[in-house]
């Protein structure tokens, strides 16, 4: 370990913080061989991620906690030659309510034994944040309390006395405004001081409230200390065991308790006999009977009472509040019965318009490049290298072309939609939308936050399913996951728009065509929203009736998002994540499409056999065999449904002059020839209507199905999410086909 440079006597210049800040080297993902581990804990909405970015830079490693669907980010930095690895713990309000996030955060500090734990707090909500701080300090004293957002607090006439707070908490307190990196140097110095110190982990003294409680606690504490004399937090453990803390009891049963000792930094041999721990558990069970019934409540109240006392001393109110309160003003508009919904509607309409209109040009450019330029280039390259026709067909016409399609259709709208979504989220507007819409979702047995995951689903259902993590109630989260598919994703908009333009727009005079076809698409999207509510209601009253449910929604203050940071993060975390999964699934789909249309059995291609086999069923649904085959092979990505349909029509009707037309379908002057092609393939108005409906109501794409499985870890719910919509789609289209034909 390198020596501490902090106190070395250099010239004045080198000693000043500005110079020393240059000693910070943000390393992003390069977290190998760190000297120290730093954990970052805190309430949600405290600017924890801004602190994280200020320490490690934007490049971070994001993934999940092992076996859990809770996001985990890691980054690292070098300060004064020491390398620190920073682990961002899930944002939590407390450590005891046994949600998954809280368990992860607590267990990491308890068993992962970070060298330093930074507890990020919001200066404007210090008292509530202190609740978590006090709970953390009961586990570990190697901690720093970082009071963030002091700039925001100052605007509200609040100042925090760091010295008083530090004295009362017994750990260093650093004031920061991470947005402009204020206080980051102080934070770094504080981290270093604790990291290099050899002081053992201590636990904050836990004040008792009454003898009624302290007697059993002390009794159990004595038993634990007899078995584990070196345990720093034995009293805390006693309190938690008596509170029936399930995950700790589990840990005790597995003999993990020995890991809590200070010397246990090296890998610990499980040399503790399980027998010992059973003694502790037995004693704990016996002592539980002596506790008052409201033991648990008393514990929480005790922490809050202490938090209130400490906060009162540390907060200095100048009373000079700014006269104009922006938050109040914005809420008056966004939450108002008069303006709330129109503003929301206009904002989202604008967002979709910008996504669709803005994506057209880059989509066409990408398409031109990938399909019209790179594709022929690859083909001639393959010819030059004397590839056999089937190999170049399989790789280039199959796998490459399908992937190129998916990328050019999917990437531009997502690169526009996701950043806009994240900006609204960071600004604080989306929680207000959830607040406005909650009543509607409540009636369907769902959570108001589902509106956010639904919006996300309009971009991409896989991303929408991941976004349901914001819903912390298990039942409502499942509802949001299962119904996300009813938000028409970006891969389905082109199908809707194309079919509506060709078939619905043609029903009315030319000057109304654009309006009518747009209305048709909007109606399908609104039908999707309606189905979301109906299915949510159905699920919550049937299969999900018994699942646990809890509502809470914090409305954070409005904050101007950091534009470039948001842009970068949403492109990395959401856009590229989704794109990568889609590419992984598009490659084999392209291969399959090419194979079925090029391998012949009995003189006809497999595609021909499939289409003819499915034709009767397709007719029954008011569709046709071509559409069904396209939906089967295009399970990986909805983007390639229309190209597959076109390819199959060309293949089966032998319309050879259209073989090149796949490259120009985005251009308006070819809409007519495209319509001609579809009509050649037997498409009627009924086919068009039912195709639009089927595109809304069918199984999620395989990327989404896979994501649902990853998020729910349940085959059952994955199956429900997959088959519920497809069965519903069959019923709806078959019914419409029947009625249509009876009236014809």
């Amino acid at each position: 370990m390198s020596s501490l440079k902090l106190k070395s006597a250099h010239s004045n210049c080198e000693n000043c913080p500005v110079h020393d800040k240059l000693n910070l080297q943000k390393l992003g993902v390069n977290a190998e061989n760190a000297d120290f581990i730093v954990a970052l804990a805190g309430n949600p909405n405290t600017g924890k991620s801004t602190i994280f970015n200020a320490l490690t830079g934007l490049r971070q490693h994001t993934g999940n906690w092992t076996g859990k669907t809770v996001a985990r980010s890691e980054g690292s930095f070098v300060f004064h030659d020491n390398k620190y690895k920073v682990i961002d713990l899930p944002g939590t309000y407390s450590l005891i309510s046994s949600s998954l996030e809280e368990e992860i955060a607590r267990n990491f500090v308890l068993f992962g034994k970070p060298d330093v734990t930074i507890i990020v707090t919001d200066a404007t909500r210090l008292e509530r944040n202190l609740n978590l701080v006090l709970q953390m300090l009961e586990i570990s004293s190697r901690a720093i309390v970082c009071v963030n957002l002091i700039d925001e607090a100052a605007k509200n006439g609040i100042r925090i006395d760091a010295k008083v707070l530090s004295r009362d908490l017994g750990v260093p307190v650093v004031l920061t405004a991470a947005r402009d990196e204020t206080g980051i140097y102080d934070l770094l110095s504080a981290i270093e001081k604790i990291a290099v110190s050899t002081d053992p982990v201590k636990a904050r003294t836990i004040f008792d409230i009454s003898e009624e409680i302290s007697n059993p606690v002390n009794e159990l504490d004595a038993i634990i200390r007899k078995e584990y004399p070196e345990l720093p937090n034995s009293k805390w453990l006693a309190i938690r065991l008596l509170d029936n803390d399930k995950s700790l009891i589990e840990a005790l049963k597995k003999g993990e308790l020995g890991q809590l000792k200070n010397d246990a930094k090296k890998a610990v041999e499980p040399n503790i006999l399980p027998q010992d721990d059973n003694d502790i558990l037995g004693a704990s069970n016996k002592l539980k009977g002596k506790l008052p019934r409201d033991y648990h409540d008393k514990l929480v109240e005790r922490t809050y009472a202490e938090a209130a006392k400490i906060a009162e001393k540390a907060i200095i109110k100048s009373g000079e509040k700014r006269k104009f309160n922006l938050d109040l003003f914005l809420d008056k508009i966004f939450i108002s019965p008069l303006f709330g919904y129109p503003v929301m509607f206009l904002l989202f309409a604008f967002m979709f318009w910008l996504t669709i209109a803005g994506a057209n040009v880059p989509s066409a450019l990408l398409f031109d490049f990938l399909v019209s330029t790179v594709h022929p280039f690859l083909k001639s390259g393959a010819e030059y290298l004397h590839f056999p026709w089937w190999l170049s067909g399989f790789l280039i016409d199959g796998m490459y072309l399908a992937t190129a399609w998916v990328i050019s259709v999917m990437l531009p709208p997502m690169a526009i939609f996701f950043p806009m979504f994240t900006l609204l989220e960071d600004f604080g507007y989306l929680p207000r939308v959830a607040f406005n819409m909650d009543n509607l979702f409540k009636k369907a047995g769902a959570h108001g936050k589902q509106v956010m995951t639904m919006m996300m689903g309009f971009g991409c259902n896989a991303a929408g399913v991941v976004a349901t993590r914001i819903i912390d109630s298990p039942r409502e989260r499942l509802i949001a996951i299962i119904t996300n598919n009813f938000a028409i994703c970006n891969g389905r908009w082109p199908t809707q728009i194309l079919i509506a333009t060709i078939f619905i727009g043609a029903l009315v005079p030319a000057h109304l065509a654009g309006f009518v076809s747009s209305m048709a698409v909007v109606s399908v999207a609104l039908l999707g929203v309606l189905l979301t509510f109906i299915i949510s209601w159905g699920l919550s009253n049937t299969v999900l009736k018994g699942q646990p449910s809890v509502f809470s929604l914090e409305l954070p203050p409005y904050r101007v998002p950091k534009f470039w940071q948001t842009l970068y993060k949403s492109i990395i975390d959401r856009t590229l994540f989704v794109l990568w999964r889609a590419v992984v699934f598009a490659l084999p789909a392209g291969a399959v499409i090419w194979l079925i249309s090029n391998i012949s059995i009995g003189g006809e291609t497999i595609a021909f056999h499939m289409v003819h086999f499915l034709d009767p069923f397709g007719w029954f649904l008011g569709l046709n065999g071509i559409i069904l085959v396209a939906y089967i092979v295009a399970i990986p990505a909805n983007e390639i449904v229309i190209p597959t349909v076109l390819m199959l029509i060309v293949l089966l009707t032998g319309a050879q002059n259209h073989t090149d037309s796949a490259g120009v379908i985005f251009e308006t002057d070819s809409i007519e020839s495209l319509g001609g092609l579809l009509k050649n393939g037997g498409f009627t108005l009924l086919t068009a209507v039912n195709l639009m409906l089927f595109s809304l109501i069918h199984n999620p794409c395989s990327t989404t199905i896979y994501t649902i499985f990853k998020e729910t870890k349940s085959l059952k719910w994955t199956m429900v999410s997959t088959f519920l919509p497809i069965v519903l789609g069959i019923i709806v289209t078959a019914t419409i086909a029947l009625i249509w034909r009876l009236n014809a």
Partner: protein, 96 residues
């Protein structure tokens, strides 16, 4: 409906409290007195984590356009609760 009223009356007698949080209108303040015994498990814990503990000062800040949920200012944070939750929180009047 009637049964519910009786049930609530009965609980009021047991818990000795009449005023509940859901009855306040925007702008009004009160102190939290207790959380009903009806509300247990993670729901109770979540409310307490968010600051709804006895003695906390709470102010009704705004209602959703549909009149439910309602946002409460508590310990600096702005927390939205549904009516059914707020009706399980007993309050005592704040001395203004």
């Amino acid at each position: 409906m009637i049964f519910d009223i009786f049930k609530r009356k009965g609980k009021e007698l047991i818990e000795g409290s009449k005023a509940i949080l859901s009855e306040l209108i925007p702008g009004q303040k009160a102190f939290i007195k207790s959380i009903s015994e009806d509300c247990q498990g993670i729901e109770r814990q979540r409310l307490m984590d968010l600051g709804f503990v006895p003695g906390s000062l709470v102010e009704v800040e705004m209602r959703s356009p549909f009149r439910d949920p309602t946002a409460y200012r508590i310990k600096g944070g702005l927390i939205a609760l549904r009516k059914i939750q707020a009706s399980k929180i007993y309050i005592s009047p704040a001395v203004a």
